[in-house]
């Protein structure tokens, strides 16, 4: 997204477009990444209720995973899960794997 100059943006730091936080990707803030164990998950959706960023992917009332572009890795989902179906893993491991794949 090209950043705009001071004459092109609304004054007062206001945001005129409702819900545009979706465009602001915050996944890079993450130190720990939630990983779902689908065997253990009972689809109770407690994680979906508690997630402060709306990052739990739910399809047909079933937990499918996480929106990693926005998940900040707070770990609330793992903490509230009654079935120990979400574990937090170090993000750096995934980033290393990602850069390894990219360089291949």
């Amino acid at each position: 997204m090209k950043e705009k100059g001071w004459k092109e943006i609304p004054i007062g730091g206001i945001i005129l477009e409702a819900g545009n936080a979706e465009k602001y990707l915050t996944g890079g803030w993450r130190t720990f990444r939630p990983i779902l164990d689908k065997e253990k998950c009972k689809n109770c959706l407690l994680c979906w209720i508690y997630c402060p960023d709306g990052c739990i992917i739910v399809e047909e009332e079933k937990t499918k995973g996480f929106y990693y572009e926005h998940c900040k890795g707070c770990g609330i989902c793992a903490n509230v899960c009654p079935f120990d179906a979400i574990k937090m893993e170090e993000e750096s491991k995934y980033q290393q794997e990602k850069s390894k794949k990219e360089s291949e």
């Binding site: 950043e3 004054i11 007062g12 730091g13 206001i14």
Partner: protein, 400 residues
């Protein structure tokens, strides 16, 4: 013409009563305020207007000045015309939110009754409160007397709400010297004020559910700088707006206003630069000197300190021999007082620069009389003859 002059409403009011009267005629949607000496009578009188049903204002009795300004910000963002008043430590407690009001571009108007900041605690006049807030992004108008308190408050609404400006405005006046002194004040008709200021229509209201807007989101290294650049631009755009509103107000009231006021400047080669009530003392001194045949002393009164009228300062002082700048606040560790620093800096661009000295005076309400101003004139005379500034910063009326 004669009939209009006769019909003029003239009242005997203190500065605080004048401010309350101007606010009554402005009739803002919201006033959120907390009382503090010597501003208390503004809030007290205004509360009576509210209690008597004379205004439509929602009066918010808050628990602190921080809350007063915060409530004004919320109200203004919703589209209300919001006003408040404070002084000294009250202004200091508002500090954080002053910047927020300015950066959200909300044209709140606030009467600031100038009082010394603690400590040691002092309730009397100096400009340490509003001078400290000079970089907060607020327009600052300084008033010489009760009439100017009235005129500035009414104009402040129109200046701040101008769509090219959209900045909050402080109308400053000296604690006790103006706030508690009774003077003759000419008052406009309620209808005239109402028509002059018009209605406040905010472009993006927090309460407009059809067009939702977010005020105050996080603004990091990607856009914060651009928003600050916009504020600088708004201050620059306020300069012609203040002049235009001053002219328009002149057509209505017979009293027009500029960024600065000149007094005996055409005859002067020595000029005193001042703001606030001391400008009146300087005028009286100049009149007395003229009666004694000394005609070469002038006054350049700064009405708008923010935006700073650098062009007017240059144009009016470029041909003068020497300048004394009066500061009713100290800027500890700086070269001199805040007015001095900016006036002297504005003159730096001139090919031929006048000699400039600084007088810090009247701190904590210390009496500043005609006799004191005569000492300033003596100092100027010395510089004019020797063409040298020996003491750049002088302390007028302090005991050695």
């Amino acid at each position: 013409m004669m009939a209009k002059t006769l019909a003029k409403k003239i009242l005997a009011l203190t500065g605080d009563e004048t401010a309350a009267e101007a606010m009554r005629q402005i009739n803002p949607d919201v006033v959120a305020a907390y009382p503090i000496t010597p501003q208390t009578e503004i809030v007290q009188n205004y509360s009576q207007f509210v209690a008597n049903g004379m205004v439509k204002t929602e009066m918010v009795r808050v628990e602190s000045e921080h809350s007063a300004m915060s409530a004004c910000i919320g109200a203004a963002a919703a589209g209300a015309r919001a006003m408040t008043a404070t002084c000294a430590n009250g202004l200091a407690l508002m500090w954080e939110v002053l910047y927020i009001a300015a950066s959200y571009r909300l044209p709140i108007v606030m009467a600031v009754v100038n009082r010394a900041l603690s400590g040691p605690i002092n309730i009397h006049c100096d400009h340490s409160d509003s001078m400290g807030a000079r970089d907060s992004g607020w327009i600052q108008l300084y008033s010489e007397n009760c009439q100017e308190v009235y005129d500035n408050l009414i104009q402040a609404v129109k200046i701040g709400e101008n769509k090219n400006v959209l900045l909050p405005v402080m109308v400053c006046f000296d604690g006790f010297i103006i706030s508690h002194e009774t003077e003759r004040v000419e008052i406009l008709e309620d209808e005239e004020v109402k028509n002059f200021i018009g209605e406040f229509k905010i472009e993006h209201s927090l309460l407009d559910l059809k067009h939702p807007v977010t005020y105050g989101p996080l603004d990091l290294f990607d856009y914060y700088f651009e928003h600050k650049r916009q504020q600088v631009d708004a201050m620059e755009k306020a300069i012609p707006v203040i002049k235009e509103v001053g002219k328009e107000y002149g057509r209505l009231s017979g009293r027009s206003y500029e960024l600065v006021e000149k007094f005996n400047m055409e005859n002067a080669d020595m000029v005193i630069v001042a703001l606030g009530s001391t400008a009146g003392t300087i005028k009286a001194t100049i009149e007395e000197l003229k009666e004694n045949g000394i005609e070469n002393v002038g006054l350049l009164k700064i009405r708008a300190f923010r935006p700073f009228p650098y062009e007017d300062i240059q144009n009016n002082l470029k041909d003068k021999a020497c300048i004394a700048v009066m500061d009713r606040s100290a800027s500890f560790g700086a070269l001199g007082g805040p007015v001095f620093l900016e006036v002297r800096s504005a003159l730096y661009e001139l090919n031929k620069r006048p000699l400039v000295i600084n007088y810090i005076y009247g701190l904590g309400g210390r009496e500043t009389s005609v006799e004191h101003i005569k000492k300033v004139v003596e100092g100027l005379n010395k510089i004019r003859k020797s063409k040298k500034v020996e003491n750049l910063v002088n302390y007028l009326g302090v005991r050695e």
